[in-house]
């Protein structure tokens, strides 16, 4: 695997020494939303809009034959069936990828795990807990996320923080925010600097904090050199993390460029106690997701992050309907197929809710105007699940949607037929669109050097 990564831009040298002159105005660099030369001009500032990357996850895939009308070959037009009808209004803003394969090279299909790991890392895991490589969102974040407060942000309405499908390894897998209030506080709490505010002044407390932190980082780096090789690797991860924290402070000290679409969202209300006790009841999941979608969208519009990950339901779909003994996942295996309908009606009902939630998410992103388009136009969303047909644990044909115009870098409206090609081609395509210069991606039979050029502008 070849990944060309840009190192994070450090401004420690510039900011060091501020303690002696907190009141002195320094010519701090003017940061803006510029990233891509192909982005649209932002009317208010004349600057160009960045391209953002998001992932969206739902558990249990689709019901074959009732979600997307199958095609024999790649062609324009996606035909949404009853399970995915909610997505039909967005047909022209997305591509659907079906029929791609997940070759296991003799390894087991660890149910509800292998699928998401393979499609997001290009590697087949060796156990039900293994995450053998970095997920594509973090590869992209290492490239485009170094100039924002947060390299990436993870949120989940599924109520299980650990079930976050963004990781560098099993040991380095951050928690998703599961509380809208906590997500709000992290994004728009005291350290948030409104990019449209006219009276920016660097916060002297943060200057001081950053200066002290930087000195401690240097000291810890010297200490890390005394450790063994295996520990040094973990130390590297520690330093990656703490430098991101340092970067967050640095961002807070700089006058941000105005962001036309940025409006400070309202702080979500604390959920009532009964909802906290039933986080995974599907109406609560839907409500949490709706609130989080708005917060994430505004975090992106305010340029707090350019990579954002949302989990609607987890890979074991532990969501449930009140009074129903089985979770969504259990229903996919236990529920009888209705001979008249041809599918498991309650499991299908949950699948419909997933499609509706994705539509809500897209509605939120496309409801934010930016430049000559919307936030969705300037984003690329990789929406995927871990199975094709959950009832049988099939991992060939896992459905993936690539949604958004990516600032004009992606052609949309296509139903792409994989014909058994490795599913990693979709991930490689997404990364290439986002500007990651990868020659190839993945391992063994999942390794590919062929992006899907049909959708690349």
């Amino acid at each position: 695997m070849t990944v060309l990564l840009k190192k994070p831009m450090h401004r420690r040298a510039l900011l060091r020494g501020l303690l002696q002159g907190a009141a002195v105005t320094l010519p701090l660099p003017f940061l803006d939303c510029v990233l891509d030369e192909r982005g649209e001009a932002l009317a208010a500032t004349g600057q160009e809009l960045p391209i953002r990357f998001g992932t969206w996850y739902w558990g249990m895939g689709h019901t074959p034959g009732h979600a997307i009308r199958e095609k024999r070959q790649t062609a324009p037009g996606i035909e949404f069936l009853e399970e995915t009808q909610a997505l039909a209004p967005y047909a022209s803003q997305m591509n659907f990828f079906g029929g791609f394969g997940m070759p296991l090279d003799g390894r087991s299909n660890y149910t509800h795990h292998t699928g998401w790991v393979g499609s997001r890392t290009g590697f087949v895991p060796q156990s039900a807990a293994d995450i053998p490589a970095t997920t594509l969102d973090l590869i992209i974040a290492d490239q485009i996320g170094t100039t924002t407060r947060f390299r990436s942000i993870d949120a989940s309405s599924a109520g299980i923080p650990r079930e976050n499908y963004s990781a560098r390894s099993a040991e380095s897998r951050g928690l998703a925010e599961i509380s809208p209030v906590a997500l709000y506080t992290r994004l728009f709490g005291p350290q948030f600097v409104d990019p449209n505010s006219s009276d920016f002044k660097p916060n002297p407390d943060i200057m001081m904090e950053k200066s002290v932190l930087s000195a401690f980082i240097d000291s810890s780096a010297a200490y890390a050199k005394t450790l063994g090789a295996a520990d040094r690797q973990r130390m590297d991860e520690y330093f990656t993390s703490i430098r991101q924290l340092e970067n967050q402070m640095a961002r807070s000290l700089e006058k941000p460029a105005p962001c036309e679409a940025c409006k400070l969202p309202e702080r979500p209300a604390e959920p009532p106690a009964e909802r906290l006790a039933n986080v995974r009841e599907i109406p609560n999941v839907i409500e949490t997701h709706k609130v989080m979608a708005k917060l994430l969208a505004m975090a992106v519009a305010c340029d707090q992050t350019r990579v954002f990950n949302m989990v609607f339901t987890d890979n074991f779909a532990n969501v449930r309907r009140q009074g129903e003994a089985n979770t969504h996942h259990l229903l996919t295996h236990m529920e009888l197929i209705d001979p008249n309908l041809g599918y498991q009606p309650t499991a299908f009902w949950f699948n419909q809710r997933c499609s509706e939630a994705l539509a809500t998410y897209l509605e939120t992103l496309s409801g934010i105007r930016e430049g000559n388009g919307t936030l969705l136009d300037h984003s690329l969303i990789f929406a995927s699940s871990e199975t094709n047909y959950a009832k049988l644990h099939t991992i060939d044909g896992i459905p993936i949607y690539l949604i958004g115009k990516a600032g004009g870098r992606m052609k949309t409206g296509m139903h792409v037929v994989g014909g058994g090609d490795p599913i990693s081609r979709v991930g490689l395509t997404a990364m290439r669109i986002m500007g990651v210069e990868l020659r190839n991606w993945g391992a063994k039979s999942l390794q590919t050097s062929k992006p899907i050029t049909d959708v690349m502008a």
Binding site: F216, F316, Q322, L392
Partner: protein
């Protein structure tokens, strides 16, 4: 809970001395490279409370550890810190530091008073960080580390025009360093074995302290370490026995049991409120505590036989739990704990019939013989259940005539289909023994109007019901060897590959009457505990999937 350890520990010591003459020598183990274990959330909390006092509020927690080889404590040796995790650690540190220097708390933390509270005070800051830093890093701060802490405090005090806010700024960062967040095993040349390394005295103190107390070593233990006492057999024995007499031993035992029984699953446990209206958030909190109280009472207070955990009729309940168990308690309202002994006529007995086991190994809306069977095999007997295959034909379960029947009938395909039976025969038959307990642990005799048959077989040991299943586990040698393996792994921070060592501990555990404190003491005093090898990279341990609903659920419906 008060424990008469003054009786327990002398008995352990006396027993050890009596056996000393004929005691078996501990077999050597292949030493592992020095480890670097990330503090667990509980260790972090305990450490802060012990250093700065229990009044310090710690709001929130950072990334949890990953369960590896059955234990989070083993996962700690490979855990790293993610950006979001570090952000949380920093936020916690900042909040803790401000509380420590607050007007209400500073009196206890600062032995000195700054000459000028509106500016830096080098002497006072040095005194503070020298004492606190030693406890946080579990060793004296190196001169450069102390200089940095003091210099940072002074600089920040200048900017903030406040000595205490300056100290808080520096303390925040001390609490975010890898030296604090990771328990690093530092080594030094071993004078008794030239050319080899041994753990430093401070590293030994930390290892002992986190095993026996689940917290940072206190000043007395660090003093003993720095005097070299932990490098001699007699000095080590004195230190361990002092620690075993401390009330903090209960914290250590609880921490091990919490990890061993996979109680981190409580964090995300939910039950359907329509199907189980009595199962409230309070029940979840109390169910975890019930198991721990019962175990501490048996294993520490009464210094009882570990195996009795599976047959024990004595428990502790609150009003919330009593409503689930349908038992009378003198104080049914409020959160008060009541000791309760099930009469011989009551079907309840032992750990596996407690809510903390039965509800945890169930689905949100129903019981699960498969999850329960798997939990008994993997958690209590340390027997690996194969992962479910990925190519299952679920049409075998589409038998409409099994709907509305008992679980035994519904799961017929698990037993009769050859592809299913391979794995399910080692889980379902024992899990069906707990079917008298519904998905939250309420006793029942029927399901869908049909009488439940809880009889079964555990590896040749017939049982008639859940209580006698508990007896079968009690009598199974795998239960005690499992405890030995897990406790040794917990102590060493890795699963020992040395069978002679584990077999030796098995034998000694049996000879001691299966007393857990005695086993902890034996492990702590044995050469294997502090053995350390070269710094070559160890083999990557095998991670195990959590038994929480996610991974185990699929077993319910796979052959």
């Amino acid at each position: 809970m008060r424990r008469p350890l003054r009786f327990v520990v002398p008995a352990l010591i006396a027993g050890a001395w009596l056996l000393a003459g004929c005691a078996e020598r501990e077999p050597p183990v292949k030493p592992a490279p020095p480890s670097m274990r990330r503090l667990s959330n509980e260790q972090y909390r305990n450490t802060i409370a012990d250093i700065f006092g229990p009044q310090i509020i710690i709001a929130g927690q950072a990334d949890p550890l990953i369960r590896t080889d059955g234990l989070l404590a083993v996962g700690a040796a490979t855990a790293s810190i993610t950006p979001s995790g570090l952000e949380k650690f920093y936020g916690l540190a900042k909040s803790i530091a401000l509380q420590v220097v607050s007007a209400e708390n500073r009196g206890g933390e600062f032995a000195c008073r700054p000459e000028n509270p509106t500016g830096p005070d080098d002497v006072c800051a040095r005194q503070f960080f020298s004492r606190v830093g030693r406890l946080l890093y579990r060793r004296p701060l190196r001169p450069s580390e102390l200089d940095l802490a003091v210099r940072s405090a002074n600089q920040a005090a200048t900017v903030r025009r406040d000595f205490y806010l300056g100290a808080a700024a520096s303390l925040t960062n001390l609490l975010t360093t890898p030296q604090f967040l990771f328990i690093v095993e530092e080594t030094e040349p071993d004078p008794e074995h030239p050319g080899r390394q041994r753990l430093t005295g401070d590293a030994k103190a930390a290892k002992l302290s986190y095993l026996l107390w689940n917290t940072t070593p206190n000043e007395a233990l660090l003093d003993a370490a720095e005097r070299g006492e932990l490098n001699t057999a007699s000095g080590l024995r004195r230190a361990v026995d002092r620690m075993m007499e401390s009330p903090r031993l209960e914290t250590g035992v609880r921490a091990f049991l919490d990890d061993f029984l996979r109680f981190d699953q409580f964090e995300t446990l939910e039950k359907d409120s329509v199907i189980y209206p009595a199962f409230t958030v309070k029940v979840i909190e109390d169910a975890r505590e019930e198991v721990l109280r019962t175990a501490v009472d048996l294993l520490l207070v009464r210094n009882g036989d570990y195996r009795d955990l599976f047959t024990n009729r004595r428990t502790f309940v609150t009003g919330s739990l009593a409503r689930i168990y349908h038992i009378p308690v003198p104080r049914p309202s409020g959160g008060a704990w009541n000791a309760y002994e099930y009469p011989a006529s009551d079907p309840h007995a032992g750990l596996i019939m407690q809510i903390g086991f039965a509800a945890l190994a169930s689905h949100p809306g129903r019981s699960s013989p498969t999850l329960r069977g798997r939990a008994i095999r993997e958690e209590l007997l340390c027997q690996k259940v194969p992962d479910p295959p990925g190519n299952v034909d679920f049409s075998k379960f589409e038998a409409a005539d099994t709907l509305g029947k008992t679980a035994r009938t519904r799961l017929t395909a698990h037993r009769t289909d050859p592809a299913c039976a391979g794995c399910h025969k080692i889980m379902d038959p024992i899990g069906l023994g707990l079917e008298n307990l519904d998905g939250v642990g309420q006793f029942r005799t029927t399901e869908f109007g049909e009488r439940i048959d809880p009889s079964g077989d555990l590896d040749g040991h017939h049982f008639a019901d859940a209580a006698s299943l508990g007896q079968a586990i009690h009598d199974d040698p795998a239960a005690t060897s499992c405890l030995v393996e897990r406790l040794a792994s917990y102590a060493l921070g890795r699963r020992p590959a040395d069978k002679p060592y584990l077999q030796y501990l098995d034998r000694e555990f049996a000879a001691d009457g299966y007393r857990v404190p005695g086993l902890m003491r034996r492990i702590a005093l044995g050469p294997a505990f502090f053995a350390v090898g070269s710094t070559a990279d160890p083999p990557r341990p095998v991670q195990t999937a959590s038994l929480s609903a996610p991974h185990a659920e699929s077993l319910e419906t796979t052959p």
